[in-house]
Symmetry: C2
Subunit: 222 residues, 2 copies
DNA sequence: AAAATAGTGTCTCTCAGACAATATAAG
DNA sequence: CTTATATTGTCTGAGAGACACTATTTT
């Protein structure tokens, strides 16, 4: 089994970039600039540049910056899709990532991304529909046990906003009382002292919070 | 961004093959047959063969069969390790899988695998120690919420054996009464009717069970 | 009967969901 | 004072852990 060399597959990273828009999860797509599927909206992605990227995360960061104008946002590895038929060009490997970004940050980036509701994303090229499905499942599954959903919010947020995010991500209504109790028990947030704010529709100003840690995973279900 | 072609990384699959031996989790290794690290015990793995493997799972199945004499065992994708420095030869991608096999099946395979306790695996080449660590965490994490640990047992097993597996995987003692209650509530097993068996040390014969489904994931913690 | 494992019953505590009640500010 | 949201409290039921108890077989 002295395997020396073999024809190598294409290696890319693809990013399921999710954000919240009008209370719904949206996926950010970019029209492809090259064949195949030139002009068709697809996941943000690109080749791994072996001369330039020290690892897959570096490739993701580079591509997010170059193609979406984003840096410093949350992303984590999702799953790798690798087969002979997922790309018409050749045997291909896509190391898929999912990323979350607050809408405000996306707006500031000033890049013309196409946002589509994640549950009505329409036709997508390659196996991108499968990748999006995997991302939704991951977000839904892990969301209930982590502060990942909070990465869809700005740094500072209200308890109600946080609850709304969890409800959207998990696709179910949550009891307000139980939600607050759990968040407090888990000790995930710190108050932004002195800063009160009125949300659009609120009468009474509300306490503002921020995450103590960028990412917390816990055992209890939110 | 009309990216046409780029130098391609090496693409391999690596398999963390775990089994149970003397009540402890062991990892199955093979001495490498080629440089680098020729002769050193390493994860079972190999190049993706683009002419032969239709996808990454096919590569895993082929390699498990060729190098470990195993087929039909449980495996699932773990995580992908991709960086410039994980392999001295070149920028390299390893799509890592973890696999579980009952000791009996491993014995029948008749291949000289080196078994080491997973928590004392010693030095491993490349980043294989990281991959093993990821596999342990996955097994531990997902184990409590699925029937994955049962894939370390033969098809037919006793309730005590099942409990012992979960205890090993999760690294803690479980209450017998609570364990049985949960397993029954979750409706995961079916009795193998009429078949009673005496385990080695048992006095009283015990009911035998098999899994209703090859893999069940649930919300409750075992 | 003793030993050893198989299997059941019960108590308590934590936590989740449901729902009610109170608090605070704007208009 | 009304309205709308923020925030707290209480009740109930499910499930987890602890532990004691019963059952069945071999020696």
């Amino acid at each position: 089994m002295a395997e020396t060399e073999f024809p190598r597959p294409i290696v890319t990273v693809d990013i399921v970039l999710l954000t919240l828009r009008e209370e719904r999860l949206h996926i950010a797509l970019l029209p492809r600039t090259a064949e195949p599927f030139a002009g068709v909206a697809a996941l943000i992605g690109g080749y791994v540049h072996v001369e330039e990227d020290s690892d897959a995360e570096a490739a993701v960061a580079r591509i997010l910056k170059a193609k979406a104008g984003l840096s410093g946002i949350f992303f984590e590895q999702l799953q790798t899709f690798a087969s002979v038929d997922r790309d018409p060009r050749d045997w291909s490997v896509s190391i898929a990532y999912f990323a979350l970004v607050p809408q405000e940050v996306l707006d500031e980036a000033g890049v013309a991304l196409e946002l589509r509701p994640v549950d009505a994303a329409g036709e997508l090229p390659f196996d991108h529909a499968d990748i999006v499905r995997a991302a939704r499942e991951r977000l839904r599954g892990k969301g209930a046990y982590s502060t990942i959903p909070a990465r869809l919010l700005p740094d500072i947020f209200t308890m109600s906003e946080l609850q709304a995010i969890y409800e959207t991500v998990m696709g179910e209504r949550l009891d307000q009382s139980a939600f607050r109790r759990k968040i407090n028990d888990l000790n995930l947030l710190e108050e932004v002292e002195g800063e009160k704010r009125q949300t659009e529709r609120a009468r009474r100003p509300t306490t503002l919070y921020r995450l103590k840690a960028p990412l917390a995973v816990f055992d209890r279900r939110i």
